[in-house]
């Protein structure tokens, strides 16, 4: 079996008496989409922050392509090749769509201490930004101010910025949220192809997308992973049915 690109071991995080992350271990293998599902408040976003670097873990390790990144901050993890998208779009709202992806390409290069030549005339950066926009289908919105985009378009722009980083691993926090049925279907098809470029740790509420995409699914409940397996295994798992899917059926 190939070595995992991302390996999370025995991660813990408590907020006072609340155990938000309880001894979580999971791996992300090259070429796979590993979906992380769970009811609201299960600790998915906390876990994502612990992996991306925004939140310091109480204990446990995060290894990234064989390297321990547990003590690294967000910037260093991003530089190491972790491409994150946010649950709530986190973009430079006053910038155009193109400027947001150019910022991503600039971050990828890291050559930011340049003070003279206009960045939007840098053919290489602009071309890479446009290529990312084209891949998510936002190329005709390039000159639009980001604040004027629809919610769904911002979600796609989040993904486009992550693409410009050319990460080794994608960390996507509910990319489908608010996309609508057709948008969700298109993004599902896109992510399906994206896994060949880099594996995806996908937090998602859209079960159609999760079951269509995920090679493996981990179910997080009250900070614990109660099951990991293929879509079929997860669908059949009695603990999962009770804790999660069952609860949804009842509702």
């Amino acid at each position: 079996m190939t070595d995992p690109l991302l390996k999370i071991s025995n991660l813990n995080k408590s907020f006072g008496a609340l155990k938000a992350t309880d001894d979580v271990s999971l791996t992300l293998l090259p070429g796979e989409i590993h979906a992380l599902i769970g009811p609201n408040g299960a600790g998915k976003s906390t876990l994502i922050k612990q992996v991306a670097g925004g939140l310091v873990s109480d204990s446990g390790r995060v290894e990234f392509s064989g390297r321990d990144v547990t003590s690294l901050a967000t910037v260093a993890r991003a530089r190491a090749g972790l491409g994150r998208t946010f649950q709530i779009s986190s973009l430079a709202m006053e910038y155009t769509v193109l400027q947001n992806v150019v910022l991503g390409a600039l971050g990828k290069d890291g050559r930011v201490m340049r003070f003279f030549r206009p960045v939007m005339k840098d053919r290489d950066l602009v071309d890479r930004g446009m290529a990312a926009l084209t891949r998510v289908g936002l190329e005709d919105k390039a000159a639009r101010r980001t604040a004027d985009l629809s919610h769904g378009q911002r979600r796609l722009l989040e993904v486009a910025v992550a693409l410009t980083l050319e990460p080794k691993v994608f960390l996507m926090d509910e990319p489908m949220a608010g996309l609508g049925a057709s948008g969700s279907k298109r993004l599902t098809a896109f992510l399906d192809g994206l896994r060949a470029q880099a594996p995806i740790l996908l937090v998602e509420h859209d079960m159609d997308a999760v079951f269509a995409l995920a090679d493996r699914i981990s179910v997080l409940v009250y900070g614990r992973i109660i099951a990991t397996g293929t879509a079929d295994e997860i669908k059949r798992d009695p603990a999962v049915r009770e804790a999660y899917l069952g609860a949804e059926d009842a509702a």
Partner: protein, 327 residues
């Protein structure tokens, strides 16, 4: 965009045209006023890099303005008294050369900004405002209590410093120097805003989390911006001292920090020519309203209140509309 460009050209030409008319009418005092506006605008251009582009509300830019002023005062006072600045470990003599003084002012202010920024930028919001204010006031009281360079009375320089090929005591020639420096600073600021650095810095102002996620460090961007900003304001301080041929601790006081901020806010935060519009308006009001009432700053206060409440883009924003994201 076109409207703002047009407005910028008008604002840019306004200073030399006014100075030229004053020259024809033989009104040297007006030339001095225009020169003052140009120098204060330069201080504002400096602050605008931190405040407008970086979103760093520094209430301590008087520190850099004052350091530039004292760099000039100290070097020139040693030159005029023919005493060396220091003899050990190596000899440093005073100088009357404006270019050398500018270099000293830039370096001093940049180093101070590096130190102050490295500490202050660990805080944000109100704390950042207060800590920069505290640094400014520290230097203010230091200048007051340091007798070697005049203490509270300040330092008088009898003859304006030299600039190669120009008679700096002639008001219009000194104006030309100040205006030239302002033009270079404006050009530099416009390039920085559009350069990769400016893109990342302004992005960090909008959304620091986004900048971190693409692998860039907001702190480093802000620190560099703060250093550039402080250096430019320091250069303005050296010119301001040369204009008055006088340096005093007042340059360090929080009033000065406040005034520089007022130029930027009146003109339009983050707008390239905001400080030019703001400083010119400030000088105009000081001159016109100051002649009517000693309490002219009350009217300035009302105007500032109106700008902050109803015209967030300042003078430039009101006349040219919302800023168009640069191409």
């Amino acid at each position: 965009m076109a409207r703002e460009t047009l407005l910028n050209i008008v604002l840019f030409l306004m200073l030399p045209v006014t100075a030229g008319i004053a020259l024809l009418l033989d009104e040297p005092f007006i030339i001095t006023l225009v020169t003052k506006a140009a120098i204060l605008a330069l201080a504002g251009v400096g602050l605008n890099i931190a405040l407008g582009l970086g979103g760093l509300v520094s209430f301590g830019h008087a520190a850099f303005f004052g350091l530039g002023g004292y760099a000039m005062g100290i070097l020139a006072s040693h030159a005029q008294s023919y005493t060396p600045l220091m003899e050990t470990p190596f000899l440093i003599e005073g100088t009357k050369s404006m270019l050398v003084i500018w270099g000293a002012a830039l370096v001093t202010a940049a180093l101070a900004a590096l130190a102050i920024g490295a500490l202050s930028l660990r805080t944000t919001g109100v704390y950042f405002i207060m800590i920069t204010l505290a640094f400014g006031q520290m230097l203010y009281y230091f200048a007051i209590s340091w007798p070697a360079y005049g203490g509270e009375d300040g330092l008088s320089i009898y003859i304006r410093n030299d600039f190669p090929g120009l008679n700096t005591l002639d008001p219009i020639q000194f104006f030309a120097i100040a205006f030239g420096v302002l033009a270079i600073a404006l050009f530099g600021a416009s390039r920085i805003a559009k350069a990769p650095f400016g893109l990342a810095l302004f992005a960090a102002r909008q959304n620091a989390e986004r900048v971190e996620t693409v692998g860039l460090t907001p702190f480093r961007l802000r620190l560099v911006a703060f250093v550039i900003s402080g250096a430019v304001t320091g250069l303005a301080g050296a010119l301001f001292a040369d204009l008055n041929r006088f340096v005093s601790p007042t340059m360090f006081s929080w009033h000065t920090s406040g005034e520089i901020m007022v130029f930027v806010i009146l003109g339009g935060v983050g707008r390239l020519f905001g400080p030019v519009a703001g400083a010119a308006l400030f000088i105009l009001l000081e001159h016109v309203l100051g002649g009517i009432s000693d309490f002219w700053q009350v009217y300035l206060g009302i105007l500032l209140l109106l700008v902050v409440l109803f015209a967030r883009g300042g003078l430039i924003g009101t006349l040219a509309g919302r800023e168009v994201a640069h191409d």
